[in-house]
């Protein structure tokens, strides 16, 4: 059975330029056991913003029945979301999709988490779950600029963290790949989420390794019915074989789908 329910907003706070962290509670939290899954969020009951918004699960506390999401107030929906107060309730579809395969990293192995911008959030819950399994976690975070950096300290609790900013105002100047090179970061397994060009350059570098990438695509239903979020597979790049980001993904092994 697919899940649907509500979450109550407990707290909402700005954590970087246009970036908000929202903490929610509700029974639905008990379903959120797989890092990398997302929620399909109805911003409010008004019809002018018709569709739901996909937002990744960033952190889960099963004991307290609480979870966190982090989002950028960009368009009209996320901007409205950022105005919501703690009493408000969110209509939620999810958790949806296939998340990061935690089991791919064996105890003792080292993992690299590579997050870009608003792709950072789902890696946090993943990192926490990996740590429980005695995996060594290193994190590389990429942002535009110093003002955009968030969750550096939170990731620091999981292991070493290196930040890159495009304008060089903080950490390594350049992209996440520049930080990886500068820090000589090595890994057994790499998990990543972020802008497509970033995922593409990781694919180019590490196609032969154990790498898992979380994709973004505009969605309609979020449950596999509308064919909005489809992508080609590398084995049939022009053909009719496809994957749906909402149900087959959002996480895919490197080289499975065409970016």
């Amino acid at each position: 059975m697919k899940k649907r329910g509500t979450l109550d907003i407990i707290q909402q706070r700005p954590i970087a330029r246009n970036i908000f962290e929202i903490t929610c509670s509700g029974d639905l939290v008990q379903e959120m056991q797989e890092p990398g899954q997302f929620l399909h969020v109805k911003i409010d009951q008004y019809d002018d913003l018709l569709l739901r918004r996909p937002i990744s699960i960033c952190d889960v506390n099963l004991d307290k029945n609480e979870m966190k999401m982090i989002y950028r107030a960009e368009g009209e929906g996320t901007t409205r979301l950022s105005g919501k107060k703690p009493e408000a309730t969110l209509d939620i579809l999810g958790p949806l999709g296939h998340g990061f395969p935690v089991e791919e990293a064996k105890p003792g192995e080292s993992v690299l988490l590579v997050g870009g911008g608003i792709g950072v959030p789902p890696l946090y819950y993943l990192g926490k779950e990996l740590l429980k399994k005695d995996v060594h976690v290193t994190t590389i975070l990429g942002f535009q600029s110093k003002q955009d950096v968030f969750y550096e300290e939170e990731f620091a609790e999981l292991g070493p963290v290196y930040v890159a900013t495009v304008d060089g105002s903080y950490g390594t100047k350049g992209f996440v790949t520049d930080a990886i090179d500068e820090k000589h970061a090595s890994f057994d397994v790499l998990y990543s989420c972020g802008p497509t060009p970033m995922l593409a350059s990781l694919t180019e570098r590490y196609r032969e390794k154990r790498v898992f990438l979380s994709l973004e695509e505009r969605m309609g239903c979020g449950i596999g019915a509308c064919f909005a979020c489809v992508c080609h597979v590398e084995s049939d790049p022009e053909g009719t074989v496809y994957r749906k980001v909402c149900t087959d993904g959002p996480v895919f092994p490197v080289g499975e789908v065409v970016l």
Binding site: L51, E217, C229, T240
Partner: protein, 309 residues
């Protein structure tokens, strides 16, 4: 006969509510939310002769009270639909309306002939109006003579009644409706989406990779109501109405306009249980309106004989 039941050619519906084609896939995903046997019927995703991947992404964009889609008729093709999808749907007690699409007349005929022979397919819905197919497609939906010819050809090979799904992107919907009626259509589905676009002011490009897409949702409801009101008074065949249905009041409005059954499209994406919810609300709404059966509502906005209270 139950007060919710509606009988239209090929489809004996427990209630007048069905999901609209393309907004329900082949039902599998929604079966995880509720028992599909609750539905009046199911309009499955457009089926073409060969498998289709569809358009490049982004394929959807939101608009005020609406959405644009340019899926491009992605589907696994006739054989896969017959072998995998329809047998699974046969497990439910619900008639299937098979949406048929193509680029050429021959494609339609091939699909119509084969799919109409499948046991749980009770009617066909000829999709002559998908705005997202570049080749052919759209022309069928805008020229009455062409639509009529297609209807005639499909009627000749179909083992079940044929509904023609009309495009709203047209100046004179009544002439189109009459043309396909004269050509033998057993019913009409209306409306498909309006052709629209949105441009991202930062990238300066249309949001949809396909540039244009079909506008659906509450934004288009007034156009649907107007067209159904016009056409239902001009033809004898029944109409499956759709376009922006979200609430039980919308269902009533479509039936009063002249629809015999109502399809729900985009709203499934927002609320996956919208169809059973509407079905469940219908009896109380009939009570409130003082109506014994849904059939009394059909065309109530213009039918003289309708008891107005």
């Amino acid at each position: 006969m139950s007060r919710l039941q509606v009988k239209i050619p090929g489809l004996t519906m427990k209630n007048p509510i069905m999901p609209a084609s393309g907004c329900f896939g082949f039902g599998k995903e929604y079966a995880e939310f509720y028992d599909l046997s609750e539905l009046g019927a199911i309009a499955i995703k457009a089926t073409t002769a060969e498998p289709r991947f569809g358009n490049a992404t982004p394929r959807v964009a939101e608009t005020k009270s609406g959405m644009l889609n340019a899926i491009g008729l992605q589907n696994p093709g006739l054989q896969a639909v017959i072998q995998n999808e329809l047998p699974r749907l046969a497990n439910y007690d619900v008639p299937i309306l098979a949406n048929v699409a193509g680029s050429e007349m021959e494609d339609y005929i091939e699909v119509a002939e084969a799919i109409s022979k499948v046991e749980n397919v009770h009617a066909l819905e000829l999709n002559i109006s998908c705005p997202n197919v570049k080749k052919g497609g759209i022309a069928f939906g805008t020229i009455p003579e062409v639509a009529a010819e297609l209807t005639r050809e499909v009627k000749r090979v179909s083992s079940v009644p044929v509904y023609v799904k009309l495009s709203p992107n047209i100046a004179d919907i009544v002439t189109m409706a009459k043309a396909v009626e004269a050509a033998g259509a057993d019913g009409l589905s209306m409306i498909n989406t309006l052709l629209g676009s949105r441009i991202d002011i930062r990238t300066r490009k249309p949001i949809l990779a396909n540039q244009y897409g079909g506008l659906s949702g509450p934004a288009i409801k007034p156009v649907a109501i107007r067209m159904i009101h016009q056409v239902s008074q001009a033809v004898e065949i029944p109409i499956i109405g759709m376009g922006g249905v979200q609430t039980i009041e919308d269902v009533i409005e479509f039936m009063l306009a002249g629809a015999s059954a109502v399809a729900v499209g985009t709203a499934n994406f927002v609320d996956p249980t919208i169809c059973p919810t509407l079905i469940q609300k219908l009896p109380a709404m009939l009570d409130e309106l003082g109506v014994d059966s849904v059939e009394e509502l059909i065309g109530g906005s213009w039918r003289e004989t309708c008891s107005i209270r």
